[in-house]
Structures are given as C-alpha cells and as structure tokens.
Symmetry: C2
Subunit: 299 residues, 2 copies
C-alpha cells in the first residue's frame, strides 16, 4: 500500500480512498484542522485560547496541533486541566499533561474539584446519589472549565471532541428527543452571556482512529487508560451501531455530521438561549441557580 507521493502508506482512509504515508498523513491532519478553524472562524487574530487537556489522546493531539499553528498565526495558548479527584487515573494523566506542556513550552494550569468545590469525585461516588457519577462530573467539569478559562483572561475554550464523539452525541440526543441538547453540538458553541466563554471544537472532523495514529506517529505521550467510573451503556450501543454503519457505508459519520450541520445552521437561531446569572455564584445558568450550586447544596 503506497501513498500518492510514492512512500509506504501508514493509513488507508476508507471514506475517501486515500492511502497516506506518515508525512502526508501528518500534513493532512494539520490542514484539516486549519480548514475547520477557518470555515467556522474558530480562532481569530490575538485570541487567547484555553485548551481543555485531560491527558487523553484527543486533547493532547489538539494541544500539539494548535501549538504548531500558533507558531505561524498570532494567538496564545494555555493548557487547562481539571483534576476531578480520581485516584490512580487522573493523577497519572495530569503528570502526562505536565510533561507535554513542558515539552511544548505551554503554560499548564490544573484546578481540582476538591479545592474549588470541596469534594473530589472519589468522595462523591461513595455517597448515595440518584444520578450517575458522570452527571456530577460533567456539570462540575464544564463549570470549572468555563470559569477558569474566563479568569485566565482567555476568550475561547478549545475542546478535543473528535468526529466519533460528535456523531455519537448528535445521534444520542436525537434518539432521546432532547432538542435543546441537540442544538449544542456545533463546531462553535456560544451562549448569549458575557460570562460564557465560546467553546470551539477544532478536531470535530477528525475520526478518533486518526487521532490515535497521529499521537503514535508523532510520539506524543498520552494516557490511554479509561475512567474507572465510565459506563455509558447507551453511548456504547450508539458507538457500536455507527461503527457498523460506517463499515458498510464508509462515509456514514461524515454524512451524519453534514446532516447535523445543515440542521444546526437552521436551528441555531431558534435555539439560542439568553442565559441568566446564578443567584448563588454568579456563573451563567439557564435557571435561577446553576446546576453546580444545586448539586453542591445536595452533597
């Protein structure tokens, strides 16, 4: 299997028929991220971008690619990591993040559930709760990511969601009839609230597998272990189905994303919500009190 440049190919993209060598593949990855950034104006001149870095392959590939781009284009980068407090998992990943940031010369900031909110996830999990640990973790993590990005003086929050994450989420919300969530999976997500920092997704057109190949081929040190509390059976069914459909029709994931994007552009206006400020903490919220304050009260 050979690349069009004549070198030995390391990857075959079924959806496009391309066979790429290491060099052409890496170039193509950077080009695609650039293209998405341009298409949706994700990053503009003099932006200060916080990258949400967990230590996994997606967020670290994002950090490495944005670093490369920041050497050519005028924008700043900070790595932002949330330490949920999961012993034996996140602590290891944080060390990985730090080593990557040192290597790249990027400032790394870490904020913990424990210090910022009072409870590490390991403790929350032990309590008797109605909701899954993922519900608490998701709410708290998004809360801190938004707040800290803003406090660090950044105007964009970049997250590492890849094509697979995105199409799974889109289909999940579609099946659940949750149209307000359905309307939040765009490439550039913004709430009409000045304390809400726009979330951007430069990797949303990169298949998960290609992030893995990029990490390996660029010797990026990543944490491959999965969260001990993760157990999203519903998402797993959706992942399995989409992978099966992609196998039969290798453009399924991109087609679904295109369907979504067309609908998104039509829905965006009608779904755009003006947020209020939480009565307790002042952070942006849909109701009167934000979910984080509500959950903390409960705990």
């Amino acid at each position: 299997m050979y690349c069009k440049c004549g070198k030995k190919a390391i990857i075959f993209r079924r959806y496009s028929g391309e066979k790429l060598c290491e060099r052409c593949f890496n170039k193509s990855m950077i080009d695609r991220v650039k293209k998405v950034i341009r298409k949706y104006s994700l990053i503009e001149k003099n932006d200060r971008v916080c990258v949400a870095v967990s230590g996994g392959k997606d967020s670290l590939v994002l950090l490495h690619i944005l670093k490369k781009l920041s050497e050519k284009y005028p924008f700043d980068l900070i790595a932002l990591t949330i330490d949920e407090g999961i012993e034996g998992y996140r602590d290891k990943a944080i060390e990985t993040v730090k080593r990557n940031c040192e290597l790249l010369g990027i400032e790394s900031r870490v904020y913990s559930f424990k210090k910022e909110l009072g409870y590490p996830l390991d403790e929350i999990v032990k309590k008797d709760r109605e909701l899954s640990s993922c519900s608490y973790c998701g709410v708290f993590r998004r809360y801190l990511l938004n707040k800290k990005t803003r406090e660090l003086g950044c105007n964009k929050l970049a997250v590492g969601h890849n094509l697979d994450d995105e199409v799974q989420t889109i289909l999940m919300n579609f099946l659940r009839g949750d149209l307000s969530r359905f309307g939040r999976t765009g490439p550039y997500y913004i709430y009409l609230n000045e304390r809400f920092v726009p979330r951007i997704k430069p990797l949303r057109e990169i298949p998960e597998k290609e992030n893995v190949v990029y990490a390996l081929s660029n010797n990026i040190e990543v944490e491959f272990s999965t969260c001990p509390y993760s157990g999203e059976a519903y998402r797993n069914n959706i992942r399995e189905f989409l992978n099966k459909m992609e196998l039969e029709q290798p453009t399924t994931k991109y087609s679904l994303l295109r369907s979504y994007d067309k609908i998104y552009s039509l829905l965006a206006k009608s779904l755009a919500k003006k947020l209020k400020y939480c009565e307790k903490c002042g952070e942006p919220t849909i109701g009167n009190v934000c979910k984080t304050c509500e959950f903390l009260e409960e705990l």
Copy 2:
C-alpha cells in the same frame, strides 16, 4: 396481566406501561388515529381520501380504521392499489384487498405498472440495470399513486406508514446526509404544486407490532408475505438498532419522532420546494423531466 377495566390484557405497552384488554386496545387505537388526524388536520370535512392499500397489515388496518371514522365524520374513501406486476406476491395481495373492500363496502381501484407504464416489475428486474428494483418500483408506484388519486377526484392520499417505518426512514436519511429527503417524513406532506396530492400518514404514531395485534384481534384478512425483491440491508441494520435501543429505553422511537417533528416544523418552510411540471407527461417534478419518464426512457 389485567387491563385497568378488569378484563384480561392482550397487550403490554412497555413505552407507556399500559396493559390493555382487547376492547380497550381497539378503542385506544381508534383514539390515537383520531388524535393524529386532528393534531395535524390530516382529514377535513368533505375530503375525498384515497387510501393506498397494498394488502399488507398496515394499509389494511388503516383502511378499516378510516372506514370506522368515516361512519361518524363526513369524508369519502376509495381504496387505491398499484399492481407492480410481481407474480405470486402482489396478485395474491390484490385478492385480499378486494375481499376487504367488499366487506367494508369501499370502492376498490387497481392500476398496474404493465397497463399504465408498459412494464411489470418482474420484467424490469430481468433487465440489466444499475439501480435496484426498489428504486424503479418506488418511483413508479409513487407516480401512479399521485396521478390516480388526482384523476379519481380525491384530494388526499392516505398511506399506511407506521411508527417503525417512519423512525427508520428518518434515521436512514439523517445518516445519509440526505436533508431534502429528511424533510419529507412529516405527518402531512405537501409539495407546492397543484397536481401533487398531499400525502397523509394517520398511522405514523402506531408501532408496527400494534398494527399486527389490531389486524389479528379484528380478524382482518391480511397478506403477510414479503416482496421477493425486497432486500434493503441498510434499512434492516437501522431496524435492528432501533429495536435494540427501544428494548433498553422503551420510549426511544417516540422520542426520535418528537425530535424529528420539532425539527420538521422548523425546516418545513426552508425545505418546501415549488415543483415544475414534467415536460413529457405533465406530472409534478423537481427537474424538467420526471423520474418516471426518465426511467421509462431508459427501459
């Protein structure tokens, strides 16, 4: 398992928790069809409704239920059947349709591919073609259904699509990125063209299984065999997936339909297309020549 009225239940609806006896189930079916008809104004006073009747369970259940409703509400019914020309399959089904129409006192009209267009499907299948037989069959059938409904002086065409058909089609078009088809799965579908008869779907909120139960419990004679040419692998994967998700989360199909309906109401305007008239036959078409004339030319 007992119905709330005290009688023995014949069905358990997982999605709603209801257990229903034969009488309450039949009443609930009629009520639901009535509700859908009202909600979307599918049938209005003095409408002349053509029912597309294939002889299968869905279209015959639709015919029987509409007949019941037409005894109370002022609208007319005609049964319209297309004979595609599939020996050993459709010919048997047509006899079933005729016996049902006689029983119900409904006028039955049958039009064949062979007589109207020159080729029975059995002959088309034998030719060397690029497209599947379902592509030809679908185009020709919809063409004749629309044309004959209009020629019979009817102003609505009722089709028997059930909940399962609808959510499969919605998901299929969503995965295929086919947004213009995606915009055509509403309860009341209309093209802006006076030769296009609006298509209505009174059974779109009835799960397939319940149509079977209704047919059995009302001793409706239906044709259960499947078309010898059917082989939609893609749709089968989607069916399997949706059934699996429904098993895990018994409201999945309804949730998906709700998601779609909300999107549909937002998309309908932007997707509504003004049709032209085919240069060859005068029937409504998107391009200059309709698909039917194009296919006939080819054959």
